[in-house]
């Protein structure tokens, strides 16, 4: 079942407004792989165009769209995993895929804090990372985050609190490690 042209036009405008946030969420769902995130977003739009994903107004459009992105990303990840298992004989094909975002991010020379932050974020369990991203990055409430994640609000709160605690701990650890390392380098140079 497809949308009406008018309906599609309205939806397109809304999707365009949310495109940047959607891409950020897709990035988070795809472990910061920009190529994969773009493909996921494309598949989501395709689903909307074909009427496979339909907004029924049960929640906000943003929440619904993010839930669709999350589900699609999980499906795509599973597919990629299967494909990589099949292509294990030709490992170049699997590992040759270089994320332009990663290169870009490297060329951007992110701040030290941002680098530490990203690596600390990667260490978190998926649910905790999602909860933190939805609340801090996308400015969603915990209820909305729970809707997107498909869990109860209590569970979402738990993921959020635990994630925050772990993130702070790992950031502190990384900072300390970096400081020690840096200190050692300084001393070796001095010697």
């Amino acid at each position: 079942m497809k949308f009406d042209p008018m309906e599609i036009a309205d939806l397109k405008a809304e999707l365009e407004r949310l495109h940047s946030a959607s891409f950020g969420w897709a990035l988070s769902c795809c472990r910061r792989d920009a190529t994969e995130a773009e493909e996921v977003l494309q598949t989501v739009y395709l689903k909307i165009l074909e009427g496979k994903a339909r907004f029924r107004g049960e929640s906000s459009l943003k929440t619904w769209l993010f839930a669709v992105i999350r589900k699609t990303a999980a499906t795509e990840y599973r597919r990629r995993l299967l494909r990589s298992f099949r292509l294990t004989a030709d490992p170049d094909e699997v590992d040759d895929r270089v994320s332009p975002f990663e290169n870009q991010s490297e060329t951007f020379e992110r701040s030290e804090a941002q680098m530490h932050f990203q690596s600390a974020l990667k260490e978190l369990p998926r649910r905790q990372r999602e909860a933190l991203h939805l609340v801090f990055y996308e400015d969603l409430s915990l209820r909305e985050a729970a809707d997107v994640m498909g869990v109860s609000i209590g569970s979402a709160r738990q993921h959020y609190e635990r994630g925050k605690k772990k993130l702070r701990e790992s950031l502190a650890r990384l900072e300390m490690g970096y400081g020690n390392n840096w200190g050692r380098q300084e001393t070796s140079r001095a010697v």
Binding site: F23, G24, Q42, L49, Q114, H116, F136, Y137
Partner: protein, 197 residues
Amino acid sequence: MEIIGDDKKLRALFSEAQTVDAAATPSFTSVWHRAQARSLKPGRAFNLSFALVTALLVLTLGSLALWSAYSHRGTVRNDAAGNHPQPASGVQPNQQTKEENTTAAVNTGNRPVFPVPGSIHRSVKPRVKRSSAAVEQQLVASTKTTARETTIETWQSPTSALLTSPTDGLFKSVPQLNENANEMKSFLPGRSNEKEK
């Protein structure tokens, strides 16, 4: 750098990440148009794996149905063979089928019914062989059972010979009262002397 702190610092880090991501975000129109192009593409007529699985399933079901039909026919023929007298052992099944054909031709009139060189006789041949073999097996089994019955009837315990003795005749026979009394009188000398006196 002081990272450990309240949510504001985490929020600041996330917003920094947001600005980096915003710079790398592909344009909406390009993603949308690509999605539209994909939606306009005719989808695959069939999924290869699905088709393979379906074909395999159909083949399995078909072979199962064929097997069940043949086995049913085989049992019916065996029953029929059990009712009719069996041909002599020297007669081959092929010959038998030929004879049947000729008799059928005679019965139908002058129109002879030729055997179709297709599937019928190819399928019948192994059936006939199988039925004759089954009959032979049944015969062998029946002879075995009768032999067993006879051996059971004539069976004797190996220790029965030990229970016999030479005085079995005396112990097992009942003496006749009158005859024995007279015979005994002859053996008793005292009584005979009294009579003589």
